[in-house]
């Protein structure tokens, strides 16, 4: 897309007070830009893209200074420089070096225009530095008018662009996420120009890069969305529901296109044609030419919008310098997760090595105080290093919560309900992998809360509640866990309905006595949905059991508290990281296995009268009145035990939901925290084993997967003599 966005800048001069500081900030960013340009190479696309982005920010900054004499010329120069860079990138100029020099010249012009305006600021007049007008850009820029009727032909991707493409998809996603968040803000505060600018910038950046990579559909969409937003920026279009909806649709479509682009990049083909796109482009165009319909009083005639122009000039003027300082302040770098993982591995190894040194020291060099002191000091540093390394994988949960904002908004629209989402504890950090894994369950739960929990407005009012329902998402740390609460002030769970349904579906027997908590937990059963009718939002009874499975797969658990008529709170407790678990080390023969503490109820040494058999082979242990099957770990795993006699060993009572069983081991060696490692691709999945852990002596011990183990035992029980 070579069409620049601000060709017809036709700003009216307004009599706002010029701000010297803003001007100085502009001048210093111009200086930085000049320095970058001097070092730039026409072949170096990423740095050109960066210059382009800076120019864009600059021209936005200059625009906010439009009250100034000289600013108009400076803005024109900036626009021309932008165009030139686009041409260089698209290889549409003959002599790229000369063109770059021209850009530098334009930027110099821009600077002198601004400087002259700064000196003239004291006496605002019509004294324009008009004739320092910069040289004309090549004529090729006459933008072909944008014909959305034609299908947009996609060329296959240039293999040389592939690294750029993967960078682009990643960046585009984060831009789209920002745009979405800002858009939702905009919906609540329609005069929030900062949000408009942020969304505009997101589309603009995407457009720029899509241009380099020749992604036509993405470019066309970004361009159309950007043009619409530009009207809003120029106060020629009011923010209304129609606009928010069409931009949201554009964001969704863009996500699709970016995903398609990623796939196309991998398969080295052109992006598939999106059939919905032309219609969307048309809607975008219509939305742009439709200001009068839903007009907010001051919107149609921008020429008279003097007060509006002044009060939006202030925020934009401020926002662009702060945006750039914020970028500097954060100063983050991207590191691939595999590198991070290997760092964490190395630190883990260091901790183990340190533990060995410690052990040796204790036995070999008692009395050497210097050595002891130094080794202790090293140990302290190693521990701190480990904490630091683990913390590097931590990300705030806020991003995930933010996605729910969009979900709740869409659901409320679809269901005809009024729902507010309140988020707290967004800064709570947890392991990146946990964040990824908890996403789907959270969507399910929020969806359920909106669909089943919150009542329609009329029912709410009838029940004496405010018409607008409330869903609260809250996260906090608690005792080495992260706790996520999803609360709603809706109708709450109905014990009777759940029980009735469960009995009807044969999940429980009518005669069974269940506690309240047990009844509530029934909603996690597959096939139990108490929603009166199935909607396309939820009610098929598949959601909640998946939620529970996912959460349990993360070694977490979920609890419900609810008051009928007042709402429910679902509390999810998850370990902070998937990387570490608490386990009991058990020995069977020479082998040591780790049993996750969360699956263990207790361990006992059975007395002979606790043991019994069925048909002389199914072994059972009677523990406090309940009869549990006994499985011998050594038989399941085919290893040699130290002793076969249960009364000489230990029986560990393990639990997988409602299923309980006894595992016979030789002895328990102790409890410890271990880092979970995969067994490597060479081995793949092994039933009954969830991974490996490196013990203090450097050997690998297997972590048992209790549910898998019980399945294995159940399958084996029949065919064992």
């Amino acid at each position: 897309m070579s069409r620049p966005d601000q060709t017809g800048v036709d700003k009216q001069l307004t009599a706002s007070t010029p701000s010297i500081e803003a001007c100085d900030a502009l001048l210093s960013s111009i200086d930085q830009l000049t320095a970058q340009l001097l070092a730039a190479d026409p072949e170096d696309l990423p740095s050109l893209a960066h210059v382009h982005e800076e120019l864009l920010k600059l021209s936005a900054g200059i625009e906010s200074q439009s009250a100034r004499t000289g600013a108009i010329d400076a803005h024109k120069a900036a626009t021309q420089a932008q165009k030139l860079i686009e041409l260089i990138v698209l290889r549409e100029v003959d002599d790229a070096h000369a063109a770059l020099q021209q850009v530098t010249q334009l930027i110099n012009d821009m600077r002198s225009c601004l400087e002259s305006s700064a000196s003239a600021a004291a006496q605002p007049s019509e004294m324009r530095s008009g004739e320092s007008r910069p040289s004309q850009p090549p004529a090729a820029v006459a933008a072909p008018s944008h014909a959305s009727a034609q299908p947009l032909e996609e060329a296959p991707l240039n293999p040389a662009d592939l690294p750029l493409l993967s960078e682009f998809t990643e960046e585009a996603r984060s831009h789209l996420e920002t745009a979405e968040t800002e858009l939702l803000k905009l919906e609540d505060t329609p005069d929030n120009l900062e949000a408009v600018n942020a969304i505009f910038r997101a589309f603009h950046t995407i457009k720029g890069v899509a241009g380099f990579l020749n992604l036509r559909q993405i470019g066309a969409l970004a361009h159309a969305a950007e043009s619409l937003l530009d009207l809003v920026r120029k106060n020629q279009r009011a923010v209304d529901q129609q606009l928010v909806d069409v931009i949201l649709q554009s964001i969704d479509m863009m996500k699709l296109l970016v995903a398609a682009g990623e796939l196309a990049g991998k398969a080295n083909t052109a992006i598939g044609h999106q059939p919905e796109l032309p219609a969307l482009l048309e809607r975008l165009q219509r939305a742009a030419t439709w200001p009068a319909d839903n007009a907010v009083p001051q919107s149609p005639a921008s020429s008279t919008a003097v007060p509006a122009a002044t009060d939006h000039a202030a925020p934009t003027g401020d926002s662009s310098p702060t945006a750039s300082t914020r970028r500097v302040g954060e100063s983050t770098i991207k590191v691939s997760t595999s590198r991070l993982d290997s760092l964490i591995n190395m630190v883990g190894e260091l901790v183990i090595a340190q533990a060995m040194v410690n052990q040796d020291m204790a036995t070999l060099s008692a009395g050497n105080h210097r050595l002891v002191r130094h080794v202790t000091q090293t140990g302290k540093i190693v521990r701190e290093l480990q904490d630091l390394a683990m913390s590097m994988r931590m990300v705030p949960i806020g991003g995930l919560f933010q996605k729910m904002t969009r979900l709740v908004r869409d659901l409320a629209h679809k269901l005809g309900k009024q729902i507010d989402l309140e988020i707290s504890g967004a800064e709570t950090e947890l392991d990146r992998n946990v964040v990824d894994a908890i996403g789907d369950p959270l969507v399910h739960m929020v969806r359920n809360a909106a669909d089943h929990g919150i009542e329609p407005p009329d029912l709410r009012i009838a029940a004496g509640k405010p018409a607008t329902g409330m869903i609260r998402l809250h996260a906090r740390h608690e005792a080495g866990c992260i706790v996520i609460e999803i609360a709603n002030d809706g109708r709450g769970l109905s014990k009777e309905r759940i029980l009735r349904k469960a009995i009807a579906n044969g999940i429980v027997q009518p005669s069974q006595e269940l506690s309240d908590a047990e009844i509530y937990k029934l909603i996690f059963h597959a096939g139990l949905s108490t929603a009166e009718k199935i909607s396309d939002v939820s009610g098929r009874g598949v959601g909640m059991d998946v939620v529970r499975k996912n959460i349990e797969a993360l070694r977490g658990r979920i609890d419900i508290t609810t008051t009928e008529g007042q709402g429910s709170v679902f509390t999810i407790r998850l370990p902070l990281t998937l990387a570490v678990i608490d386990g009991l080390v058990a020995r069977v023969g020479k082998n040591r296995y780790i049993l996750p503490t969360t699956s263990i109820e207790q361990s006992i040494r059975p007395t002979p009268d606790q043991l019994s058999t069925v048909q002389q082979r199914g072994e059972m242990v009677t523990v406090r009145g309940s009869v549990l099957p006994l499985f011998r770990l050594h038989r399941l795993f085919g290893v040699n035990p130290a002793s076969e006699d249960p009364t000489q060993g230990l029986v560990v009572i393990v639990r997988d939901n409602a299923r309980r069983a006894c595992l016979l081991v030789n002895e328990l060696l102790g409890q410890q925290q271990v880092v979970i490692k995969s067994l490597g691709d060479g081995i793949g999945r092994v039933t009954g084993v969830s991974g490996g852990a490196i013990l203090g002596d450097g050997t690998v011990s297997l972590i048992l997967d209790i549910p898998g183990l019980l399945e294995l035992a159940a399958g084996r029980a029949g065919d064992q003599p």
């Binding site: 060479g682 450097g698 050997t699 690998v700």
Partner: protein
């Protein structure tokens, strides 16, 4: 098992450096680029319910990697562990992800430069010996080194030995 078609692309560039090792009296070669390191034998944690040639897992500086007994993979007689027994860690890539696997060999010999001209295709042995994991036969002086396509040895679609569960 016909491997003519699939082995063809490898044939053009088989010359290069090979790490040679011994299993009994036979000598084998591994492309040096696939070899990550050689470590002495160490305590291996057995993993239940895996094929018999999978000896288990070891801790390679914080990374858990699986270890394959090459003798057992090739259905050869097991050998006594000696001071020379060692584990060659090889790096293979599956679906673009690289991973390390240890292979147990009787003894490591040397690194040899074997040129294209010295390498011949593996002869057909009939049904008794599977040859689809052999890159070629390297003739060095009087001896013949069996050059292994280690990716196929580790991930070969056809099991070379019956698994423990079938046994």
């Amino acid at each position: 098992m016909s491997t003519e078609a699939t082995a063809a692309p490898l044939r053009s560039a088989r010359g290069g450096k090979y790490l040679t090792f011994a299993l009994g009296h036979e000598e084998y070669g591994l492309e040096i680029l696939k070899v990550r390191e050689i470590i002495g034998s160490m305590e291996i944690t057995a993993v239940p319910r895996t094929p018999r040639h999978v000896k288990g897992v070891i801790n390679l500086r914080g990374q858990v990697i699986s270890v394959i007994d090459l003798r057992s993979r090739f259905a050869m007689e097991p050998a006594e562990q000696t001071d020379e027994t060692c584990i060659i860690v090889v790096e293979t890539s599956v679906d673009g992800r690289t991973h390390n696997t240890g292979i147990i060999v009787d003894r490591v010999k040397e690194v040899l430069d074997i040129s294209q001209e010295q390498i011949e295709d593996a002869p057909s042995f009939g049904d008794s010996v599977s040859s689809n994991f052999i890159l070629g036969m390297g003739k060095v002086g009087e001896s013949v080194k069996i050059l292994l396509d280690i990716d196929r040895v580790l991930d070969g679609p056809d099991a070379l030995t019956p698994t423990a569960e079938a046994a």
